[in-house]
């Protein structure tokens, strides 16, 4: 059995850990509110953008000559996966959920004998992936300096993806991120952004638009922007998810630490009591023998 002194030290150390996790939870809760707000505020833009593109792609006359970003290159040989994770740890299963989702997708692609290229956004994803898929990672970006997700960063990633697409480095691009459902639930998501697939989304209003300049030119201007917008949306969702995940993880940790302190305190009191009893017995039996 541990000595009284040891127990005391352990209780003190668990208590200080509890203080840290409690503080982290508080910080995450404050950040979560802000991240959630900006995720909600960012939605109209991506929705409107989607709408316009939908209208445009419906209005386009000959599908054969549609921009490649919309219709694809016609093959499915090389896949590019953009895995978006956080730069910081201590956020529960946030990163490993994305990685798990991504890894199962990677395995599927490699099984089919296709080529795989990976871009990691956020250092945690890179750390976890580089052991197995190190040779597949072509780029690693992290935005440690910027506090909040901003469009400028997303645009940088978007431009890079498009550059690689134009250079013919890949045929299909998928992004991985966590969709924020609520504080305890974040759903890992795989979204294909190149070529764009508007599955099932039929536009009900058959209103014809006037285009100026013509559809093709607008589309070829709009599609690259849409890529950045989608990446930005993923970044916003991700940052809200990260804070939510961290908050619930830290909440759990704080509770576990509390339980541990209770258990240790009981053990401490018991052994203290045992020591007193032992001393008393020794004194009494000593006195009796006289």
């Amino acid at each position: 059995m541990a000595s009284l002194d040891d127990l005391k030290k352990r209780i003190a150390s668990v208590k200080s850990t509890q203080k840290i996790t409690k503080a982290m939870k508080m910080v995450a809760a404050a950040k979560l509110r802000r991240a959630q707000e900006s995720a909600e505020k960012g939605r109209p833009y991506s929705e409107k953008m989607n709408n316009v593109i939908l209208n445009l792609s419906n209005g386009i006359s000959d599908k054969e000559n549609a921009p490649k970003l919309l219709s694809g290159t016609g093959q499915e040989k090389t896949h590019l996966c953009v895995v978006m994770t956080s730069d910081r740890g201590l956020c529960g299963g946030f990163n490993s959920n994305i990685i798990k989702k991504a890894k199962s997708y990677f395995a599927k692609i490699l099984d089919e004998g296709k080529e795989l290229k990976i871009i990691t956004v956020g250092s945690k994803g890179n750390d976890q992936l580089k052991r197995v898929y190190g040779d597949k990672i072509i780029e690693n970006i992290s935005f440690k300096e910027s506090k909040n997700a901003n469009y400028f960063d997303a645009d940088k990633v978007g431009k890079m993806v498009i550059e690689k697409f134009d250079a013919g480095e890949f045929d299909i691009c998928t992004i991985f991120y966590n969709r924020f459902k609520n504080v305890i639930t974040q759903i890992p998501q795989a979204q294909q952004i190149i070529p764009l697939n508007n599955e099932g989304e039929e536009n009900s209003s058959e209103e014809s638009y006037e285009f100026e300049p013509d559809e093709d030119e607008i589309l070829s201007n709009l599609l690259p922007k849409n890529i950045s917008t989608q990446i930005f949306k993923a970044m916003l969702e991700n940052s809200a998810s990260e804070q939510g995940s961290r908050m619930s993880a830290m909440d759990n940790a704080t509770r576990n630490a509390g339980e541990m302190v209770d258990k240790l305190t009981i053990e401490y009191n018991r052994s203290r009591q045992a020591a007193i009893t032992k001393e008393l017995i020794e004194i009494i039996s000593g006195a009796e023998s006289l």
Binding site: K41, G42, M49, F211, E212, I218, K225
Partner: protein, 130 residues
């Protein structure tokens, strides 16, 4: 019948401006300035760097944009843009900063014709502001 319609400007971070008593909007469309009044035909176009003028009962407003898309439908005008500044809030030093950036971009030699054209446009517009 009133001659007013609704305009909404959205940027990636948030819904920038919503106004529903607008009588006319002038946008710098790619092929020239375009004035939009109520009951305009549905149209989609994109913007080059320039000034958006919004005329309404509650006063006129001017915004500087660098790019964007306009969509007009059922008397709803949506403008999507990534960079927008209210001219009333923009001071001289901010303008100078933007101008400097644009000039640098325009002087690059390794850009294609379209981005060169857009950068030149930026410089021109910003110069007229000063």
């Amino acid at each position: 019948m009133s001659e007013e319609f609704k305009v909404e400007i959205v940027n990636p971070e948030k819904s920038f401006l919503v106004k529903d008593d607008v009588s006319e909007v002038v946008v710098p469309a790619f092929e020239g300035e375009m004035g939009i009044l109520k009951d305009h035909i549905s149209i989609i176009s994109f913007l080059k760097p320039g000034i958006i003028k919004i005329l309404s009962k509650s006063g006129d407003e001017n915004y500087y944009v660098e790019d964007g898309i306009v969509e007009f439908k059922n008397n709803n005008l949506s403008i999507l843009t990534s960079t927008i500044f209210n001219l009333a809030d923009m001071d001289k030093s901010k303008q100078q900063d933007l101008l400097k950036q644009a000039e640098e971009e325009a002087n690059k030699t390794d850009i294609n014709d379209q981005s060169k054209y857009l950068a030149d446009q930026k410089v021109e517009v910003l110069k007229t502001l000063n």
